[in-house]
């Protein structure tokens, strides 16, 4: 039995959001990539990438399918080492430090079928040593916020695709890391839910800023959520354009995306995408 539930509408004036898990209140860190190249087997996937996301800044990555955006995210968060070049998060270059500071959200939700939704969401806390009850309590508030009340005990198989994506996103957030690497976090959602989630993320980041590297194929989403958007070419990927976005995370999404500056930026990004 699958259900989908609309997100709770944000009541006016309530910009607050649950703080990150205790013990991880460290200031957000900056991400820097210098001359990063990467090859997989004989295949050159990334070619001399230079990118930056300042502390508490949001960087968007858009590009054609298969260009290596996901690989780039895995490199940043320390799951892989680049074949060449350096990646630093908060000044530290080792993969271990990057792993520690980044929370990764993969394209597939990868919820573990043997855990309930709330146990899946609080995995990072459990791994960090928190007890089960405490971890569940920490996650419970965010469940309400995401419109998932009542589904804490549900198994992933009982949730719709959209709800699973939300739980996976929750899992990333709860880890309490200063840097979030999100790989198409809203891909599985329908347009309405997607817009709501974008607004939610925008308000969450306004209240609790973190460094974010966001991969998406939706140019509009990138421009709305990110401070800067980098356009990548097809494989081997290089940065073909980097644009600032006019009103990142503006409270009124509808107004923001219909603003002429926004439309112009979107046109420019699409041009760069097509040209790549």
């Amino acid at each position: 039995m699958r259900q989908d539930i609309r997100m709770k509408p944000e009541s006016p004036g309530s910009q607050t959001v649950e703080p990150p898990a205790p013990g991880r209140g460290a200031p957000a860190d900056a991400v820097a990539l210098r001359a990063v190249s990467h090859s997989y087997a004989e295949l050159r996937t990334l070619a001399a990438i230079d990118l930056e996301a300042p502390a508490q800044g949001v960087l968007g990555l858009v590009g054609p399918s298969g260009c290596g955006k996901s690989t780039l995210l895995e490199l940043i968060c320390g799951l892989q080492e680049p074949s060449a070049g350096t990646i630093s998060v908060g000044g530290a270059e080792s993969a271990r430090a990057r792993l520690e500071r980044c929370a990764f959200m993969p394209q597939r939700d990868l919820l573990l079928p043997w855990y309930s939704a709330i146990d899946n969401a609080s995995l990072a806390l459990r791994n960090q040593g928190m007890g089960r009850r405490e971890a569940r309590a920490a996650a419970a508030g965010l469940f309400e916020r995401f419109g998932l009340t009542g589904f804490e005990a549900a198994r992933p198989a009982e949730l719709s695709g959209g709800m699973r994506q939300r739980v996976a996103f929750l899992r990333t957030l709860i880890a309490g890391k200063p840097v979030l690497t999100l790989d198409e976090p809203f891909a599985a959602l329908d347009a309405i839910t997607r817009a709501e989630m974008q607004e939610w993320l925008a308000s969450a980041l306004r209240a609790d800023p973190r460094t974010v590297v966001l991969v998406t194929h939706d140019v509009e989403e990138a421009l709305y959520l990110c401070d800067r958007v980098a356009v990548l070419s097809a494989r081997p990927a290089r940065v073909v354009a980097e644009l600032p976005s006019p009103h990142p995370r503006a409270p009124d999404r509808d107004a923001a995306v219909t603003d002429p500056e926004f439309i112009a930026a979107r046109e420019e990004a699409l041009r760069a995408l097509r040209g790549s």
Binding site: L99, F104, L110, N127
Partner: protein
């Protein structure tokens, strides 16, 4: 449930008729007393219930210990072989080869080494049972989604946590398949082990009954053995339903 019971009733009925009219004895060219009918088996079961229960307990003890030993060794080996590829490549052929040694041949040797007590029986049963457990557990571990394990790394999971939270549960369904197979072959091992050297147990009873031409009781013993195996399978299935709650 009705259909299998119906078929059993049909077959038993046919057997009863064939046996009591002397049909089977004539066909196989045997003396009448060497052929047992279902009715005779049933009454033998009842008359000898004390004896059968006593020996059943002996055999059951051997089987349970043997299966537990197989579980411990099998799961341990699967984990180790999953972790170290070199070990898996080296050990796998040997494990397969170990199953080609006929139990009938190795049982007497083990009795010579370990004596008439329970030890050789447990060893023999464990030998037969560890193979399906190992192979299935290993398969289960290999079926784990590597992406999920990668994700666990980014969620601050230590190696142990990765294994315990993401890999072990994924391997459980396969492991239970292996256990079910092991439970089915355990009685065979028990009987052979007892034939090699034993003073008690259902296998021993069958063996001694041959000399005394107690055909009906032999069949009754087989019925008890089957019932034991079925009960163990049922218990395993029950345990699986309690543990593997997501399938």
């Amino acid at each position: 449930m009705l259909l299998p019971l119906g078929l059993i009733a049909l077959l038993l009925g046919a057997w009863q008729i064939a046996a009591s009219t002397g049909g089977i004895a004539d066909a196989l060219n045997l003396e009448d007393f060497l052929v047992a009918s279902p009715a005779e088996i049933a009454s033998s079961l009842w008359e000898n219930r004390g004896l059968l229960a006593e020996n059943a307990w002996v055999t059951l003890r051997e089987m349970l210990l043997g299966i537990l030993a197989a579980l411990a060794v099998g799961v341990g080996m699967a984990i180790v072989m999953h972790r170290w590829r070199l070990l898996r490549d080296a050990a796998y052929p040997l494990i397969v080869a170990s199953q080609t040694i006929p139990i009938v041949v190795i049982s007497p040797i083990l009795v010579v080494w370990f004596g008439y007590g329970i030890t050789p029986k447990v060893v023999i049963i464990a030998l037969i049972c560890f193979f399906p457990i190992t192979v299935n557990a290993l398969d289960g571990l290999r079926s784990v989604d590597p992406e999920a394990v990668k994700l666990m790394r980014s969620l601050d999971a230590s190696r142990w946590q990765r294994f315990w939270r993401a890999e072990a549960p994924a391997a459980l369904p396969s492991l239970f398949t292996g256990i079910k197979i092991a439970v089915v072959v355990a009685p065979i091992g028990a009987v052979f082990a007892e034939w090699a050297g034993s003073s008690a147990g259902l296998g021993h009873l069958i063996q001694s009954d041959t000399a005394q031409f107690e055909v009906a009781r032999q069949f009754a013993t087989v019925v008890v053995l089957s019932a034991m195996a079925l009960a163990l399978i049922g218990l395993t299935a029950l345990a699986e339903r309690r543990v593997v709650t997501w399938r």
